[in-house]
């Protein structure tokens, strides 16, 4: 609270008194600690020495001796490794496909004179009001032959109406003069989209892409109802079975040098790591991307 670089201190925002500043400082520290402390203890438990974990009753706040046995254990090529690869692949392919479809829809529906545009827009927006029920969706997914297919984790969620509305709003806020000028020069819609609209839309594409990627990475329930084959499970489903459900994870229990708690927490860390790693790079686009899109819509 001491620094105020960036924006000048407006006269009405006088510096708060010492009691107020103390209260604010405490409140902020508590908020930040409530978020970060649980995550920290998970990391600490995952890298703690097995002896230490047992002595402490299953959790560690500050590991005295570091041990990466838990990670070595789950990354040795068993179900966790496979699940991470499945999730990674589904996320990569799914995000790409989702972005392509969403950009196509959003761009076409943002053009004011599109033939049938208003009807198509209502057709799409209506689905927001009445989401497909779990049972009918299951029957559709099965009848189009997606049972036991990785595509069952992608295709039923290909386009998200909220993301579409955000992106369409952003496209509508772009200056039309540039596009008209390109059209006069003979550019087709594809060229305009690729050369003019997309380069101007980096923030919204980044944000919507992050939303899609996170949703694909976090998907777990669909694997339970669509997959008979456990080796196809994504990381979320594995996490549910072995961490929340408490099933034994190590395939050969005697060979492990880590405590079961450390192994479980290592799975949690591995399932969280990609999101936490991606997050700082895209975080600066949040407000710009989401709000310009959503508020205009």
């Amino acid at each position: 609270m001491s620094t105020s670089q960036g924006r000048p201190h407006p006269p009405w925002m006088e510096r708060p008194g010492p009691a107020m500043r103390l209260a604010k400082g405490i409140a902020l520290t508590v908020v930040v600690a409530l978020v970060l402390f649980p995550m920290w203890t998970v990391v600490a438990t995952s890298v703690a020495d097995p002896q230490e974990v047992i002595e402490n009753g299953g959790w560690v706040v500050w590991p005295g001796h570091w041990s990466f046995a838990a990670y070595a254990d789950v990354l040795r090529g068993g179900i966790v490794t496979r699940a991470l690869m499945v999730s990674g692949l589904v996320t990569l392919v799914g995000t790409t496909l989702s972005l392509c479809c969403t950009i196509g829809l959003a761009y076409a529906l943002s053009r004011p004179r599109l033939y049938g545009g208003r009807f198509l827009l209502l057709l799409v927006l209506f689905t927001f009001l009445f989401p497909p029920g779990m049972v009918p969706l299951f029957l559709v997914v099965r009848s189009v032959g997606l049972f036991d297919q990785y595509a069952a984790l992608v295709l039923p969620f290909l386009v998200n109406v909220f993301n579409l509305v955000v992106m369409r709003g952003f496209f509508q806020s772009l200056p039309t003069e540039v596009m008209e000028a390109a059209r006069v020069d003979g550019a087709g819609e594809f060229t305009i989209l690729r050369r003019i609209v997309l380069p101007l839309s980096k923030p919204v594409v980044a944000v919507v892409g992050l939303f899609y990627a996170v949703a694909y990475w976090n998907r777990f329930f669909e694997a339970i109802i669509y997959f008979n084959d456990q080796s196809r499970w994504p990381i979320g489903t594995v996490l549910r079975q072995y961490v929340i459900g408490g099933a034994a994870l190590s395939e050969s229990a005697d060979a492990t040098a880590a405590s079961p708690q450390s192994v479980q927490m290592a799975v949690v860390v591995l399932a969280t790591a990609p999101i936490v790693c991606l997050y700082p790079f895209l975080q600066r686009y949040f407000v710009k991307g989401v709000l310009t899109g959503a508020l205009k819509a």
């Binding site: 609270m1 033939y115 009918p136 290909l158 989209l193 549910r240 961490v243 936490v276």
Partner: protein, 328 residues
């Protein structure tokens, strides 16, 4: 498109148009406009196909609610049973227990979750240092991006029988409290989980509203000698009132949609008595017991109530002079 045609006219010598065989009727103009927009229509085709197959396709699947689903007969050939499934639903005590749990959790969410992001947004907004504010924002947004599986694993690690908090309490000799798996503590627990996961993210919209408050109002109030409390009460809150009302109305419209994954993951731990909500009821009757027709009826009922609620909420928003979700 008009422009391109104009260019053609300039480039090529004027050729006389062939005499139209028939008067260009409505069909003709439609076909021409369709052809003129072919690139755009091609762009939106894959996405449109998705909506038709998975959304409108499964909309038709709701006929299952009026059938007695027999797996080897399929949806089409299963016998019609009229409103039997719905009658069963209204007579089913388990259904009503799921309704009661859903409503209670929804009310708790509204009362205890809703004010938290507003308070947090006011706190964040009052931080003068940009760096510090951005850091705190990054931290509080983060849980929104974690899956429910991870959040619940974290809560188990913290509050479970062998968790961090219990361990500490044992160390200081207070004795453990059981939160995870305790049916009595389930409802406060799920609300706490929701607050932990989503309250930071929910501040975004309030922060945007706060940043748009006219600064001259603050200056004027300050000149008139209003302290920060009066400025908060007479300037800030009235200025963001539309946003507060809108979000409240939106929340009322989604009253029954309290989420599925969070409850699906924890129902086993506390039992259906305390942990069953409408969405998990649909899952466990449909997928676990194979009673698909009945499950479809429950989910259709919930969907219909949901649409009615959104419609009403929107009407209320208009009545209050707000924008609402959609304009009709």
């Amino acid at each position: 498109m008009v422009v391109v045609r104009a260019k053609e006219r300039i480039g090529s010598p004027p050729t006389p148009l062939p005499p139209p065989a028939v008067r260009p009727g409505r069909l003709h103009t439609h076909a021409r406009r369709l052809w003129a927009d072919r690139a755009l229509l091609l762009l939106l085709l894959p996405g449109l196909l998705y909506f038709l197959v998975f959304h409108y396709g499964s909309l038709f699947g709701n006929v299952l609610a009026f059938k007695d689903y027999v797996p080897f007969l399929g949806v089409q050939d299963s016998p019609w049973v009229g409103t039997d499934n719905f009658r069963r639903m209204f007579a089913d005590p388990l259904f009503w227990s799921a309704v009661a749990n859903t409503l209670l959790i929804a009310v708790l969410q509204l009362v205890f979750f809703f004010p938290v992001p507003l308070g947090l947004a006011l706190l964040l907004h009052s931080i003068a240092g940009d760096t510090l504010r951005r850091f705190v924002q990054s931290v509080v947004y983060l849980p929104h991006f974690l899956s429910w599986v991870i959040v619940i694993a974290l809560f188990q690690h913290m509050l479970g029988g062998a968790g961090v908090v219990n361990g500490w309490l044992n160390d200081v000799g207070v004795g453990g409290i059981s939160v995870i798996g305790n049916p009595d503590a389930y409802k406060p627990l799920v609300v706490a989980q929701l607050i932990w996961k989503e309250c930071g993210w929910a501040t975004i919209i309030f922060l945007a509203a706060l940043s748009q408050v006219d600064e001259q109002l603050y200056e004027a109030a300050a000149l008139d000698g209003a302290g920060w409390r009066r400025r908060l009460w007479h300037v800030t809150l009235p200025a963001i009132r539309p946003v507060i009302v809108l979000l409240l109305v939106l929340r009322l419209g989604e009253f029954l949609s309290i989420g599925f994954e969070q409850f699906f993951l924890q129902r086993q731990a506390v039992g259906p008595e305390a942990g069953e909500v409408l969405d998990t009821f649909v899952y466990f009757t449909g997928f676990a017991s194979g009673d698909f027709g009945y499950a479809a009826a429950v989910s259709l009922f919930k969907g219909a109530i949901g649409v009615a609620l959104i419609y009403t909420a929107n009407k209320v928003a208009h009545r209050l002079g707000e924008q609402g979700v959609y304009r009709s």
